[in-house]
Amino acid sequence: MVTALRRRVQLFVTCLIDQFHPDTGMAVVKVLNRLGVEIEVPADQTCCGQPAFNGGFADAARDMARKTIDVLSVSDAPVVVPSGSCGDMIIHQYTRLLEDDPAYGPKAAALAARTFEFSQFLVDELGVRDVGASARGAVTYHACCHGLRGLGVREQPLDLLAGVRGVEQRPLPECETCCGFGGLFSVKLPEISSAMLARKLENIESTGADTIVVTDVSCAMHMNGGLRRRKSRARVVHLADVLASTAAGGDTPAPHA
């Protein structure tokens, strides 16, 4: 449960957070630091390979998997991933992809054993639900699919949100229904993806919440893109963005600096 305060982890920041939501990466670091965790950031990290894997490009996925394993195996510190889909990739799919690789198969298994999704790390590993955050406004939580069904991330984000002072949590109807992103699915089958998005956004609007909290930036980009077109005030943020907020009575942070 509660472990020694001095812990050290590696942050696998994920290519989407690195490029599109760097502040979310900063927020993850801030929250972990606040809890007494030291962060290493391997400079050579790139992409976990999930888009390739899901698209059927198995060899490409294996190349990226081997590279990522190398990068994350220099240090033996546990790995924290602020993404359910990248987390699922490393924790479950790497061993499958590399099961016939005598060198990387075992390395994949070793890496999987010490890799954690961000909210699972806080709640299940550190035993923490209150990270000292405070914010204002009404939020609603959307359960991203890979985290939910791939990794079993279900209660942890909700527990963490409940620990944020000043925030009003509203339940999202059909909160476990896919937002329609699905990686390349969003551009290969844009009509179906958009229909799923529309349904998700209608559910979001029905809550009246201004802020939607997710554990995957990919889903956030998809939903924010739709909200922007609807000229909606609501915005989707990553859980870390909320948890990093200590603005006394301040607003929850916008996703775009």
């Binding site: 690195d18 400079a43 699919c145």
Partner: protein, 493 residues
Amino acid sequence: MHTNVSFYRRAHEALHDARLQGALDLATSRMVSARTTAFAAFPDGDAVRDHARRIRAHTLSRLDHYLDRFTENVEARGGHVFYAESGDQAVEYIRSLARSRHVRSIVKGKSMISEELELNRALEADGMTIVETDLGEYVIQIGNDHPSHIVAPIVHLTRHDVAALFKRTLGATDAEVADIGAMTALARRVLREAFLGADMGISGVNFAVAETGSVCLCTNEGNGRLTTSLPRIHVALMGIERIVPTLDDLGVMLQVLARSATGQKLTVYSNLLTGPRRSPGEPDGPEELHVVLVDNGRAEVLGGELAEILYCIRCGACLNVCPVYQEIGGHAYGTVYGGPIGSVLTPGLRGIVPFKDLPQASSLCGACREACPVRIDIPRMLVALRTQSVTESPAWLRAGMSVYTWLATRPAAFRLAGRVGGAMLRWRSRDGWIDRLPGPLKGWTSTRAFPAPPKRSFLAKWQAEHAGRPQPTGDGANSTAGPTGNTPKAGAQ
């Protein structure tokens, strides 16, 4: 089975059919909540599902053995078993059986496999009358339509559609189609005549039981019982995988089948048939029972990484929870089996190339696997199918993926590409958003804005803030570490 050439067009039409959208919402939400309620009230549910999965897995791993035992036992009770490698052989067997027994009229219970075989058409060509007796299937038949859902075949029709159809094809009066009750009563009368006059009844099989040589049919309407009890010949059609070893195993399957499909504990009739009528003591039942075991591509599926799809017990739960199916319905798939199960089974049975679009029509959300009573990992197999057909991917995607992979295995190049790509996106952006992405990516921006990336990536910021700091542990040759504790300079703002 119709080809899949126009999956995208069919999906497009479905998305713009407001009535279908309403019907899909109604049907799937009802069935989803019924299933959830049923399992919430079933405390042993998870254990039973795990056990059901073990039974299916074990059975398939010894399929030849169980088919042998089943055959012996059916024959011991006076039934006949025919092994059909292909759909054509199955159809031929039934046709020649019907001819040799002077069959003129046939009643049919619901059978998905008979649709794979296109059986009705062949028998009608021989001059036989064949009537579908499941109400939904009957409506489909007289309307020349196709079922849109495994369990609820006419979710896409309203009561007015059915009323109009009955008036047109049956000459029904207004009173006879005044409401759903009246229409059901009309169908009952019409179909009763068919039952009473039929020479042969053809049914599907939900589960065959190897140790007793029985076939079990699960229905709600009673047509399954009438089809298999009134006509003097009963033909039971089944895929070779629809088998369980023992009666106890059947009991386990029955515990999860109806709950998963409609939220009922059991279907109204679980009908267990073992051989034909035992004359002279039994007063009714068929004179002959023929079980037709159909391969039609199943052995091929069994031999590979898609074998798990054969665990399926045809409950339809995956269709109901699938967010894609909820938007486009069953017709869009253009095949006998739609939804998540169909996206694996159809390419498995018929080949990936003509059906390569089906496995793409998924966000891999995993809701199907979560709902499946035997926990079939459909997303795993969708990815496997995508991998098998990756050479069919569009050229832009293959080229793009090669470039991306090359970059992702070379960190410095990846960073540079990120800076260059970011700059290009920012150049196209207005107010932090891009409203038109080029080429094949325009699908995104048809309904969504795309964000312009900030100037500095996380890694760039981190390097800038932590360059030159001492490394605490590990060899850290390619990592930088941030300070700990509550110091204000802790690497974030």
